[in-house]
Symmetry: C2
Subunit: 215 residues, 2 copies
Amino acid sequence: MLRRAVDIADAAGVEALTMRRLADELGVEAMSLYHHVRGKGGILDGAVELVLDELAAAADASAVPPEDGGWRAAVRARLVAARTVMLRHPWAPDVMAARSVMTVGAARHVDAVVGLMRAGGLSYDLVHHGLHALGSRMFGFSPEIAEPDAGDEQGAEALAGMAELVPHLAAMLAEVAHDGATTLGWCDDQTEFEFGLDLVLDGLDRLARGSSAAD
Amino acid sequence: MLRRAVDIADAAGVEALTMRRLADELGVEAMSLYHHVRGKGGILDGAVELVLDELAAAADASAVPPEDGGWRAAVRARLVAARTVMLRHPWAPDVMAARSVMTVGAARHVDAVVGLMRAGGLSYDLVHHGLHALGSRMFGFSPEIAEPDAGDEQGAEALAGMAELVPHLAAMLAEVAHDGATTLGWCDDQTEFEFGLDLVLDGLDRLARGSSAAD
DNA sequence: ACCTGAACACCGTTCAAGT
DNA sequence: ACCTGAACACCGTTCAAGT
């Protein structure tokens, strides 16, 4: 049943994951669902939990022993693995953010990251700051809030109308769009994810080594 | 009318911002609204735009001349100012993320940040990566996805049940909760926002100076 | 041009009734 | 224990009708 909920959200988006539709696909009446879960929230939580099981499996499969490259490489490998799972379920981070309940699956993932960082010698305090700094990257997602590039045709068109209003932005996009023609488009999300991830991990590493004196 | 929409969302949350309620508070029928905006989306976009006007005013008011402390301080001041506005309208970042349309207000804010970074000598390419790395921090918000601390009573209780399941996380929270007793609680959101912001800005600054050879 | 009432096609959920 | 039909209180939106 939760499996089916995940399939619906994957195929048609969370907004299509409705009690009536889920019941329909299970060949049952909508009200029957209430005998097995605590309302719609229970279904969303359960679906997220299933995705987090996938995440745990993927993270284990691609785990890097902390000896090879230190905690930084180990955390990086885990979060990049998390991303491959979340890309299959792009609605999951949104649901997790909307329903801010700490499920066991989420707690275990965070726990694993904390463990890797501690093994690398970071203080609990620094680890704690680090979790906040990672934000949604912790679950393989960077928040693409109001991304200035969006759809190619509509984005370019809207930008043309704003060119004199936002000169710096227009100039940046013109240059980046040109250079990026060799890659996947204006923005390579995977590249940007890894860039931001490395920036945070490098910063934490530097703080852990107490290299602020080197500034 | 958009002003009233912002007030409703501030006071009762976005989910309370409904066509019927907005019309009611304006002493008019719900269907009249469709003669002035393009459906509910238009109202959400308009409300966000109003918030972004506030943001622009706050950013201008607390602007730091680039000469004093460089681009880093200037960008920091602008994003911290953005945060004070968004804290008054916590629904705004969510709405912006949900409706991924680049409004003029959002574009102008991003443009200003790009301008400050460029004035600091950063390449368009590095600026572009930087925008992605900043993510929602660009608009004063760090994504508190599945925050492990949440409500004090419920969080502590849930954590007790998970203590043996997530040992590292439990140990971290136990220590951080203890130390943090002197401040505002387990997590000081403002502190965490500034920590993450500085981590990203420092990282960009380092890359701009080409100090990777110093590693 | 602007507003209105009734209606449509949806939601999540309650509740009494069936087996 | 599990399922069901009808109903309730909502949504956003369409549409013909009013002024």
